[in-house]
Symmetry: C2
Subunit: 326 residues, 2 copies
Amino acid sequence: MVSIKDIAKKAGVSISTVSYALNGSSKVTDETSSRILAIAQEMNYIPNAAARTLKKRETKILGVFLTDFKGDVYGDLLDGMKELANAQGYDLIVCSGKQSHRMLPERAIDGAIILDQAFASEELLEYADRNHKIVVLDRELKHKNINQVLLDNKAGATLATEYLLDRGHKKIYIVSGPSGSFDSNQRMKAVKQTLDRVDHVEWIEIEGDFKKSGGEKAAERIIKEYKEPVAVFCLNDEMAVGLCNRVTDTGLAIGEHIHLIGFDNIELTRYLQPRLATIDYSKRKWGALAAEQLIKLIAGETVENERIYVTLVEGESVGHATKKVY
Amino acid sequence: MVSIKDIAKKAGVSISTVSYALNGSSKVTDETSSRILAIAQEMNYIPNAAARTLKKRETKILGVFLTDFKGDVYGDLLDGMKELANAQGYDLIVCSGKQSHRMLPERAIDGAIILDQAFASEELLEYADRNHKIVVLDRELKHKNINQVLLDNKAGATLATEYLLDRGHKKIYIVSGPSGSFDSNQRMKAVKQTLDRVDHVEWIEIEGDFKKSGGEKAAERIIKEYKEPVAVFCLNDEMAVGLCNRVTDTGLAIGEHIHLIGFDNIELTRYLQPRLATIDYSKRKWGALAAEQLIKLIAGETVENERIYVTLVEGESVGHATKKVY
DNA sequence: TTGTAAGCGTTATCAA
DNA sequence: TTGATAACGCTTACAA
């Protein structure tokens, strides 16, 4: 491995001069500088990240922590983060699993973006106490070293619920996420608030898991209980997909007997028939904003918590209820 | 930041004793050791990765390089890698984009797994020459520091083609991947070999891109040229999904007018109607094997190139051709 | 069993 | 403008 020492020897200068030259400092003459640069090139010099990090106490790397590498939400989100990070001179790495948590306290990364309910809040607070910078996308956490960039779940869930109500539906199933999920809980709360304000609407909560299997299970129950057209709000699209899938085997039709709306607008839904009504938001922007906030935190700037806005996407999966008189 | 120096001071021992204790060396008495460990705990000591790496010249981190963070193939593949890596004491990080390449030469990782056609082979060979360890999943590359773990594309493409032939199809469209893709080229070659051996079969190649849009475009051409039932082999599932999607708008039916087979068995296809015939392989095993080979390379062991075996998954997307007499 | 000290490859301070 | 040198936090050969 060739180090600045080797270059210094070959160039007949000191290591500090080499370091300055390599870092483009104006302290060294253009002449020496270009001579050193040429030698470095010729010797195939590559700086050593560990040494630089040890000295500078920064890696210029951001880490994102995910529950697993599956999941349809991640693509654009990560691309958005990467794009912004790169533009600011940072690299982005994606990690998953408990083992990789150590990267933050051991300073293998300059900061972390969290999208993993399995990453305990207490652990995050510990790291924040040690002055590590964190952005959370999946919970509320108050700390000077932690910033939140959260979806406007309340607006989204309200939008979806009102959409069903506007179309005259009087019986609504809500398929929730796992009980620990922040997004699920927030969405559920908004749904209840909205429904509590109206009369003559029956609603039933079914506990789901944010995965396709949860939607399938919910479908089974709904089919069994089926008497007349009903509406269903799956608190995420992935469950809506599972539900659709399960329903197509039966005589019931989405958008006619079962009126379905989801949340997330994942790519997969574009391949559903009929098109799924859902709640949309820019995953790319979400990622970029998270990265931006993290970089600001690292730079020592104070930042406000941010909110990602959502919109309703209509779809033929929700039709009008057949009129009834009470 | 608390370092071993601080612990040494508090414990009244030297830093080397602290280091030995922390690393569980038997050179130090259990008594001193546990005293030191207690103090370390109490002081909230966390080792510094950069310092350790600088000294030991290893990070215990493996890097995977992907084209982007989208793509349906990755989930299980990455989980498989992570699982094996973790079991062997390694962490896995996922990187994307040219900027992150530096992690390998700068020694921020101990080795790399490549699944990104945009990562030039010349660049990889340079790194290999510098003694960095690499496993490639998307090309053939001969070097003592590079190992290949490739899909058995030939077997898969042959299986798929023969499946269509067995069912009596006489006109077959092949939708290829982008021209630079190793997988596409290998699959295409096997298709041609198989088809060259039979008579009375007409086949047409359509250049695709391995993305949904490529399948959609191919669908448009096939629909325009449609006279009687035809077979289509999309060289990956994602294009098959795009093709299906485009076809459902027309009067033509998959499995009846257009007999379709894909390659990859991505999760998405499970939500297609009718079920897509395709070529399957264990993405999890593929990932695990890649990680295993890389770790062996890093350990200095010599390893043989490996091959991932594939199987045919039948589906209603391919029916029997209506008999014809020539 | 414990301590001393060198060294990993950088950056950065201070002198020259 | 350049050079000597300390320091970053750790591991490890060698000495005590």
